[in-house]
Each structure stands twice: as C-alpha cells, then as structure tokens.
C-alpha cells in the first residue's frame, strides 16, 4: 500500500515522457518571433516541446556539419540547405521551400531620408550594416542585389558586416550605422527603424526559406509532425501575419 502513490506518480511521469518529445529546430534569425508563436500554439495541442536555436543560416549549417543534435533545419537561403544535402546531412524527400521574403533598406528613425539604393553612395552615408555575405543569407542577397545595380564597389568600403540579420537591425536601431539591409519582416517588428526603400521582387535575388528534417535527428518522428504543422493553414496564417510570403510550391527535390 505504502508504495502505491510514488509508483503511480513515477509511472505517470514516464507516460508523459513517452508522449512529449523535445524537437530541436535550428532556424534562421529572421524567423524568431513567428516561429516562437507557431511553436507556442503547437505545444499546446501536441504536447511536444519545441526548442530553438536562432542564428545566421550559415552558422547553423556549420553547427549541423559539426554534429549538433538537431531535428529540423529551417534556413533563409536554399544554398545553405543545398550544401548540407550534398553532404547527406538532410533527409531527402523532407525538404520544402516554405517561405519567401523581401529585402528592404532601413535607416534609423531620426536619420536623413534615403529614397533609393543609389543614395547609399552619398558621402553622408558612412556606415552600412549588412549580414556577413558568406554566412548570413540576408547579406548574400543584399550583396548580389548591389552587384546587379553595379553599386557594390562604391558601397563595399562602408559595409559593416554583421553576424545575423538581427545584428544588422540592432546596428541600425542604435544609430551607429546610417543604413542597413534587412528583410521586410525584420523591419516590421522594430519601432526604431524606418523603411527607406523596398527592393522590388523583380530586382532582388529570389529569397526562399528551405525546411528539412536533419539526418540522424534524435526525435525524427516528432520532428516530422512539426514539419507537417509548419505547412498547415494555422502556421501559414501566423507567417503571413508577420509579413512572410507563404510559398505554395510542391516540395523541392
């Protein structure tokens, strides 16, 4: 009799453990608020727990290569997923291109206005924050865009490379740089920056967020369920609310 209650507690604890899995998601920094909100909703209904590591997609892919215990990779740049897929680190068939975004030039709210990318070459613009072009997708896109406009050589000496798109946003917010390239969705969550110029989709490189299950994922079954949820109408609604473009393309090969 004496032992019954502790046993009951213990067994219920184990039962909980069997159902609740901890899914680890390595996600692009720009997905921070939207994914957290989606995960909060998902945790309530599924009982699973979602753990995030937000950073530049290049940093995350480096960590996955080094063997980080991760279930899902959600990057802001297809090439980062390509590199991992080529090394056999993503489960083929699980990859989807889920979201799109657009590039904007932001300035501190109290700074003189800029109306075009060409004005970035003005002498008054001394520092321009950009994601580090090799690891931060937003920086890769911005560099490609400036190269296409043949402004890169003039802009390059002013560039302050940042370790993620959110570091770019913070640098502009602080007023320590005169302008920066972030996604439209990042600019929308900050009250301390203003959008000076929105890059038309036709001019910018295609911005696409790939999502895939990582090979040797510790919680692959629970992770697959969350991937399915991320593609659901409920999740799409949240992404749209934050300003993302929800892509309805079939899964990439």
């Amino acid at each position: 009799m004496k032992n019954k209650i502790p046993v009951a507690i213990l067994s219920s604890l184990f039962a909980l453990q069997l159902h609740a899995a901890q899914v680890t998601v390595f996600a692009a920094a720009s997905l921070n608020e939207s994914l957290k909100q989606i995960a909060a909703d998902y945790e309530k209904t599924s009982g699973d727990k979602i753990i995030f590591n937000f950073a530049a997609s290049g940093t995350l892919s480096r960590q996955i290569e080094a063997g980080a215990p991760v279930d899902i990779f959600f990057a802001a740049d297809e090439t980062k997923a390509d590199a991992l897929e080529k090394k056999g680190l993503l489960v083929s068939g699980t990859r989807k291109s889920l979201l799109g975004n657009s590039l904007v030039i932001v300035t501190p709210t109290d700074a003189a206005a800029i109306h075009s990318p060409a004005e970035l070459t003005n002498a008054a613009v001394q520092h321009i924050a950009l994601g580090e072009a090799k690891t931060v997708p937003c920086g890769t896109y911005a560099k490609a865009y400036l190269e296409k406009l043949q402004l890169w050589l003039a802009v390059e000496p002013k560039v302050v490379p940042c370790e993620s798109v959110r570091a770019v946003l913070a640098a502009v917010e602080s007023g320590n740089v005169d302008a920066g390239f972030v996604y439209k969705t990042d600019a929308a969550i900050s009250k301390k920056v203003k959008v000076a110029y929105e890059v038309p989709a036709a001019d910018a490189p295609k911005i696409s967020y790939p999502l895939a299950l990582v090979k040797d994922a510790p919680q692959s079954e629970a992770a697959k369920r969350f991937i399915t949820y991320l593609d659901s109408d409920a999740a799409s609604a949240v992404f749209k609310q934050f300003g993302f473009i929800v892509l309805s393309s079939p899964p990439a090969k």
Binding site: A56, G58, T59, R62, E65, Q126, H127, E132, K134, T135, V159, V160, P161, C162, E163, A171, S174, G175, N176, V177
Partner: protein, 221 residues
C-alpha cells in the same frame, strides 16, 4: 601565408601597439598613484581598474558601445563637435584593446613601483630633484623590468582581445578585423585552413610575449 593574412597580422600588431600608447601614460600614472599614495576611496579605484580583467569582455564592450556610440554621451559629443566617429572604426579597436589590457599593465607596474626602495627617492629629493625628475631618473629606471613585463603582457592581451572588440568595432575586413575576430569568422565560414594559419600566428606571438615577460620578471628577483 597569403598577403591578406600578412596584412591582417600587421594590422593587429599596429592596433595592439597603438593601444600601448594609450595605456602607458594612463597606466604609469595610475600605477604610481596606487603604489605611492593613500587616499579615501583608493580601494574603489583599485577595483574599478581591475574590473575589465574579470568582467565578461562583452560587458566591457557593451559599456564602451553605450558610451562611445553615436547616441552615447561621449560618442555624440565627439560626433557633433569634431565629426569624429569611434564605433565601427579602427579607433574603437584601439579603445577596446586599451581598456581590456590596462589592468594587466597597472598591476605589474604597481608591484614594480612598490618594490622600489623609497629611500632612493627621498635621497634624490634632498638633493633637490623635483617629483617628475625623481620619477623618471629613480623610480622608473629601478622599476624598469616590472614595467616592461607588464607592457608585454598588456600587448599580448591586446592581440588576443575578442569580446569587447567585436562589440564596439565590429568585423570590417581591412578596417577593424583583428586576428581573433578573423579566426572566428574563418571558422564560421568553414575556412579551416585559414583559421588554423591565423591561430598559429597568434600562438607564436603570444608565446614570445609571455616568454620574454616571464624572463624579465624572474630576473628581477
């Protein structure tokens, strides 16, 4: 090593040397003041000077960023009065390195000054020497080894500084990127060979600086 790597090493050495130029006058004055004088609140100054040694370097960086940022009290004044920007320029590198390595220099120099027998200084004063002359002809020459050892330690520390530097100066290739920051970036980019090359250079310089510093301090005894 590539020419870009040599340039990076040269830049880092120049920045560390420039920080020594800031540290030497300030540090010598502080060390002498702490070694020779007693005043109320001395313990507070002692603690403040040593604080960057134990605070997380990014915290020191954060404080510098708040002070010297374009909207910070010092930064905005420099910007409006002289149109002089600190954050994200080489000046921020020097500032970060100097702040981080000052404590090491002050500690070594202070101990060296304390070991100088005050009788020699008194003697010089009775012969009519002023305080400046006493310091430069008696105290400093007698404390030479300790001060030199401290200088080398501060220099080595400056070359290795990462946390505060990346906060205030960022990582602008050719403008603010120092050896440790470049190593971090190389690892981030998956350029392992580049990272190891730079790591090797850092190790050689640090080894030399500490080795000489140790030798100087041991011979003093």
């Amino acid at each position: 090593m590539s020419s870009a790597e040599w340039q990076l090493v040269g830049f880092s050495l120049r920045m560390a040397l420039a920080s020594l130029l800031l540290i030497l006058p300030v540090g010598l004055a502080l060390a002498w003041w702490l070694a020779r004088k007693d005043w109320r609140g001395k313990a507070l100054v002692e603690t403040l000077v040593s604080l960057p040694l134990v605070l997380p370097p990014v915290v020191t960086g954060l404080v510098l960023l708040q002070l010297f940022g374009r909207r910070g009290p010092v930064g905005s004044w420099l910007h409006t009065t002289f149109n002089y920007d600190v954050v994200f320029t080489w000046r921020a590198v020097v500032l970060a390195l100097a702040t981080m390595s000052l404590p090491l220099f002050v500690r070594a120099a202070r101990t060296a000054f304390e070991e100088v027998d005050e009788k020699f200084e008194q003697l010089a004063r009775t012969l009519g020497a002023g305080e400046w002359r006493v310091f430069f002809t008696i105290t400093l020459p007698l404390a030479k080894r300790g001060v030199l050892a401290g200088t080398l330690l501060a220099f080595a520390r400056a070359l290795g500084e990462f946390g505060a530097t990346i906060m205030v100066a960022g990582n602008i290739p050719g403008q603010t990127t120092t050896l440790p920051v470049a190593i971090y970036q190389a690892v981030e980019n998956g350029e392992d060979v580049h990272a190891w090359t730079l790591a090797g250079v850092s190790a050689v310089i640090a080894f030399a600086a500490v080795f000489i510093s140790e030798k100087l301090q041991r011979r003093r005894k």
